[in-house]
């Protein structure tokens, strides 16, 4: 039986736990699991302090308005960090400050290089997710489960883009 103290669970046990989260999402918030629109909510909320005109863009206004759905998703991703922290503490896992795979993948042990790549990657990732209107959670977990045609296109494109870039731009880990 999987224990909270285990270092690793079967992907099937964890996958079922994640899939079951659709129940409270649909019943309580009338939405599907997703993560990437929270970046618009938080990013635009912070940026609007310096640039209030940002809030005049319809898309931004829709994402920062204080409704249950917007701030539910922000709370969800904050909860993800807390849950991962709790799990790590319970299993007693020790982590490096940067995963050791990056030295090989990037061909350099430089933390500055890794930080620059991570920042750029985060930028591209969210820019793309917002064009597609969803990420691994919204299009992947939720879209595929709902048999969405558009989400299927997005997920195929996501894996295609990921496989090409990981094969051509990163060294084999």
């Amino acid at each position: 039986m999987p224990s909270f103290l285990d270092k690793a669970w079967s992907p099937y046990v964890a996958g079922v736990a994640i899939g079951l989260l659709q129940i409270p999402a649909f019943l309580m918030v009338e939405t599907a699991l997703g993560a990437s629109s929270s970046y618009v909510t938080v990013g635009a909320f912070l940026a609007s302090w310096g640039a209030p005109s940002l809030l005049k863009i319809d898309y931004v206004a829709r994402h920062v308005v204080a409704n249950a759905k917007n701030w539910w998703q922000v709370a969800l991703v904050v909860g993800i960090a807390i849950g991962a922290f709790i799990s790590m503490k319970m299993s007693g896992a020790k982590r490096h400050a940067i995963s050791p795979i990056w030295t090989r993948a990037l061909g350099s042990p430089s933390p500055a290089l890794r930080y620059a790549v991570a920042f750029t990657a985060g930028f591209i990732m969210l820019f793309g997710a917002r064009i597609a209107d969803g990420c691994t959670s919204g299009h992947g977990l939720s879209g595929l489960a709902q048999l969405s045609v558009g989400s299927t296109v997005a997920v195929v494109a996501m894996f295609a883009g990921g496989i090409v870039v990981a094969s051509l731009m990163l060294r084999r880990i």
């Binding site: 996958g15 635009a44 960090a81 990056w102 991570a118 048999l147 494109a157």
Partner: protein, 205 residues
């Protein structure tokens, strides 16, 4: 309690479960995600497909009995394709997706803070470009689902999808047991496992 406060509270609780499961499955590890994209590690696909199948079964019941309405996104083929490719490229270089970035921060991966910052800037940059991109690329589309195209009820299509995924996972697990992909530190880091066992590299395929 207001609806926003209730939403935040339920989001926080669900997020904790989500993050716990992401950490336990190891799928949030850069080594697992990059390994998946290099087709040398299959834990990510296993967690992902299991969650999709579970979600499909759950929604087959909830929607089939009329408790909930489906919330599919509009099919915007150009945006889905272009955005999806960029998203995937970002995931490969970040070693994280928008959700797992937060799990990496939770366990103390320092580079994930830069992924998060880049993501927030990317989301704001998109917001500025959105009025233009909406006209040039994104547009509007119908909320298409496959079961409607085939002409069967959603619940039947969802059960069929879940069944197909279960068969696929059985085959994948036979070919590649999940424990083999954890490696020594449960982080998908292949080389240190080889170094410590003194063994030779086993080809991925």
């Amino acid at each position: 309690m207001g609806t926003v406060a209730l939403g935040v509270l339920s989001g926080l609780l669900m997020g904790i479960v989500f993050g716990f499961a992401l950490e336990k499955s190891r799928v949030f590890e850069p080594g697992i995600i990059v390994g998946q994209m290099q087709l040398s590690n299959f834990i990510m696909l296993k967690v992902f497909l299991t969650a999709v199948a579970t979600g499909a079964l759950v929604l087959a019941v909830l929607n089939g009995f009329g408790f909930v309405k489906l919330q599919p996104k509009a099919a915007l083929y150009a945006a889905d394709a272009v955005g999806g490719v960029l998203l995937g490229a970002g995931i490969a270089l970040a070693g994280a997706c928008p959700g797992t970035t937060l799990a990496q921060i939770g366990v103390g991966y320092r580079d994930a803070l830069f992924t998060l910052a880049g993501g927030l800037f990317g989301a704001v940059a998109f917001s500025y470009a959105q009025p233009w991109l909406d006209k040039a690329l994104i547009g509007t589309g119908p909320k298409l689902i496959f079961s409607d195209l085939v002409g069967i009820p959603y619940w039947q299509g969802a059960i069929a999808l879940a069944a197909a995924i279960v068969v696929l996972l059985f085959v994948m697990e036979r070919l590649r047991p999940w424990r083999d992909d954890l490696r020594t530190d449960n982080d998908g880091n292949a080389r240190s496992a080889v170094a410590e066992s003194g063994g030779r590299m086993v080809p991925a395929e």
